[in-house]
Amino acid sequence: MASFENAGSGAMVRKVAAAVVENRAWLSEIDGKIGDGDHGNNMAKGFGRAAERISDGDTLDAAFATVTDVLMGEIGGSMGPLYGMFFSDMADVVAGKERIDAPTFAAMLAAGAEGVMAIGEARPGDKCLLDALCPAVTAAEENAAKGFPETLVAVRKAAEDGRDATVDMIAQIGRASRLGERSRGVQDAGATSCALILVTLADAIEARLS
């Protein structure tokens, strides 16, 4: 069954960070529609700084831990704790592993999602990053037995579909939750960054598998 080596995963996380930094303006712009317009700034600052401290050779858990440290230590905002817990709880699953296969990957995502829900008390359907994340977890869990390639295809699609589905949702959490009907019609910023992170990670894993 396909898998990738834990060591040397730092480069993948740096790719994720680069994707976030590249999408800074876009993420801020959609946050401006029903939020405070800073999602891209917060994310780019955190991931940009983390990337500077991650080496290509780092293990996945070490790289994730660096992201967590920066988010929780220096960034703050909503994303500090939420993505901080996401990466921290994912790191716990893969810590000490030689190689990471699809079931481990699925378990890792699931732990990350649990972490976000534990601290943020939101649920899928609330129009938040969980609407990209939770479908991706389910897709990973359902496809893990078929191996990594199928899993990654399913995760990408689930994350993007989940992100797109937030357009029609009414926000139940965060700043936008006070808007009721007025929050409908706009894509959620956190779901957008989450899908971006998952898709970029899946692409990077795919490249390492082949």
Binding site: A25, S28, D36, M72, G77, G80, R178
Partner: protein
Amino acid sequence: MTDDIRTKKLINAPEDIIPEAIEGMLLAHPDMLKVEGATKRAIVAKDGPRDGKVGVVVGGGSGHEPAFAGYVGRGLADAAAVGNVFASPSPEHIMDAARAVDGGAGIMFLYGNYTGDVLNFDMAAEECQGMGIPACSFGVTDDVASAPKGREGERRGIAGDFFVFKIAGAAAEAGRDLDGVIAATKKANDNTRSMGVALSACSLPQTGKPNFDIGHDEIEIGMGLHGEPGMRRGKLATADEVTTELMAGILGDMELGSGDEVAVLVNGLGATGPLELYLLHRRAAKILAEKGVKIHYSWVGEYCTSLEMAGASITLLKLDDDLKTLLDMPCKTPALTVAG
């Protein structure tokens, strides 16, 4: 071309704005403020924290100046944790503040009720408790526009921070223990209601773009402190009409009758100055007078802003004898001096 148009600001590199502003603030108020801790995000009162006194730590994202660090000083907050623009400080920033003000009597954390602030301050409070320091994490919920009656706990904190911070700071200064400070804070928050209106957008230093669109003849009633949409988009109306609507939102949500006393805060969001704010105060005072409500004291000015947004908010704090005593207690901070 027009895509190149950025809001003009007097800044250096956008990523340096917070550390540089903190440096400038410390250079401006060396008699009152110092910075403590490795993160350099904890601004601490020189003449505030002391053994046996509850430490009062306020904080939140930047862009709301003079909130939050402007309220640090004797008789008000002992420290402020300063976040990036519109983003809560991190647990480490907050812990730097908490460690600096710990006098063995516990820590009171105060901030506006936003997801990010709640998450980060709650984590700091847990960390304190883990170290054996009693701590309370408290989000101010004064904005009536942000959730209906019955769901008060979901409301945002806006300019009402001013009153809740002042009461908490005075309670700690008066030597009350943590439970006493919590009780006074809770009562102040329960008795505080605000509502705001925005006329223009603000823009973040990093993006330089207005963070929402608003027509040249439109206003946003119930706008949040970060440009979050409010209750309704309407046509520009007179100061009297707008004030009447804001006061209706506030008075519809609190019990106030003849003989009651309030403190009033008419707060500018950034680009709306005293000339306009006094027009709002005029109408608000008349509405209160018609109800037989007495104004104990009024503040009119910029106390909690949204960068350079045009607009204003009105806040009422319903007073009882204890709240009045605490409100009148002296304090000395960069943004508020109450003389003894």
